[in-house]
């Protein structure tokens, strides 16, 4: 039984694409067959985050328009053989594809994969409508900032209006040291304001940027973010993974926090 999940946020730059790439890698690591669809037509970047930018021949618009076969456009990941990317077109715009066409595309992808994950562009215009059209589940990415939370709330409203049953929250870029000092909203604060189920929280770590620099997922590296993304993926598959309490947390967390502090101090 395959599931179509949209990763969205409203606001740009909160980590949708990085989250999509890592959720894809994590699910693939758990043995699932996954396709990541970059729906940001005109501004593609999931391929770059995954390090597959040199392998693109055909793209999403080609598939939708029938210029190529579906399998010709799918690019296999370098690390996980059961992870695929359907890249976006760089020289077209959002109007090149309609929500109806996206639904048809999903129907073609669903028999081939366990998870079809749509990387949504920022904004609430056609790109958003395309990405959301076929999804039955949404992951709303936000950061502990007022602007990102406001946009997340707006997006949650639109997702509910679009009839999406499962809406989960992913709080990204948590600075544990700042939260401890009371200079950043905690996971609880964000969940309290937005009132949707929390899927997971990812700390802001150097490793995430470093992995993206290399075009590789942070999953599999020795970082808290890797653990966080793997937990998120296990929750997506339905496993009940307890939420690591980042603030008051376990001894494991405290060890990780100590590591984090050391790294921060240089």
């Amino acid at each position: 039984m395959s599931e179509v999940i949209v990763v969205t946020s409203g606001k740009g730059g909160v980590g949708k694409t990085t989250s999509t790439a890592n959720i894809g890698a994590g699910l693939a690591r758990l043995g699932k067959k996954v396709v990541l669809v970059d729906t940001d037509i005109g501004l593609r970047n999931l391929d770059v985050v995954m390090g597959l930018e040199n392998r693109i021949i055909y793209n999403l618009v080609d598939v939708v328009e029938g210029s190529c076969r579906l399998k010709q456009a799918l690019i296999r990941d370098r690390h996980y053989p059961n992870l695929y990317l359907l890249p976006s077109a760089q020289t077209r715009d959002k109007s090149a594809v309609s929500p109806e066409q996206m639904i048809k595309l999903s129907e073609r992808l669903k028999p081939l994969f366990d998870y079809v994950i749509m990387d949504c562009p920022a904004g609430i215009e056609q790109g958003f409508r395309n990405a959301v059209a076929s999804a039955s589940r949404a992951i709303v990415v936000t950061t502990p900032e007022v602007a990102a939370i406001r946009d997340a709330d707006r997006i949650i409203g639109l997702l509910e209006a679009a009839g999406i049953e499962k809406i989960n929250l992913l709080v990204n870029r948590l600075r544990l040291d700042m939260i401890r000092r009371g200079e950043m909203m905690s996971i609880e604060d964000v969940v309290d304001i937005l009132a949707v189920d929390l899927l997971g929280a990812v700390p802001d770590e150097d490793g995430v940027v470093i992995a993206a620099n290399h075009g590789e997922p942070v999953i599999g590296t020795d970082t808290m973010a890797s653990v966080a993304f793997l937990n998120i993926c296990r929750r997506i598959t339905g496993e009940a993974v307890p939420l690591a309490d980042f603030q008051t947390g376990s001894s494991l967390f405290r060890r990780m926090a100590a590591l984090f502090r050391r790294r921060q101090g240089g």
């Binding site: 939370i149 809406i167 950043m184 304001i193």
Partner: protein
């Protein structure tokens, strides 16, 4: 005094949370903070027509409940007096 003491302890995360709440409340109810202020004034005028409002009345609360499908119902409390 108490408020001032609290202000002194106000961390930026508390301020952020309060601001996030306010903006979201305004967004959801399609009502700007200025309109909230105006609403308070007008409600006071109406209430004072029927009620004798002096210093003995310490608090009037109006809860505007906006049911959302997911999660808990959202309540914006307008403190009129």
């Amino acid at each position: 005094m108490n408020i001032l003491a609290k202000r002194g302890l106000q961390t930026s995360s508390r301020i952020a949370k309060m601001r996030a709440r306010q903006t979201i409340a305004s967004d959801r109810l399609s009502c700007t903070p200025e309109e909230f202020g105006q609403m308070k004034k007008e409600l006071m005028n109406i209430l004072s027509k029927y009620l004798y409002l002096d210093d003995t009345v310490t608090e009037i609360r109006v809860d505007i409940v906006h049911e959302i499908k997911q999660g808990v119902p959202y309540v914006k409390t307008v403190q009129i007096k």
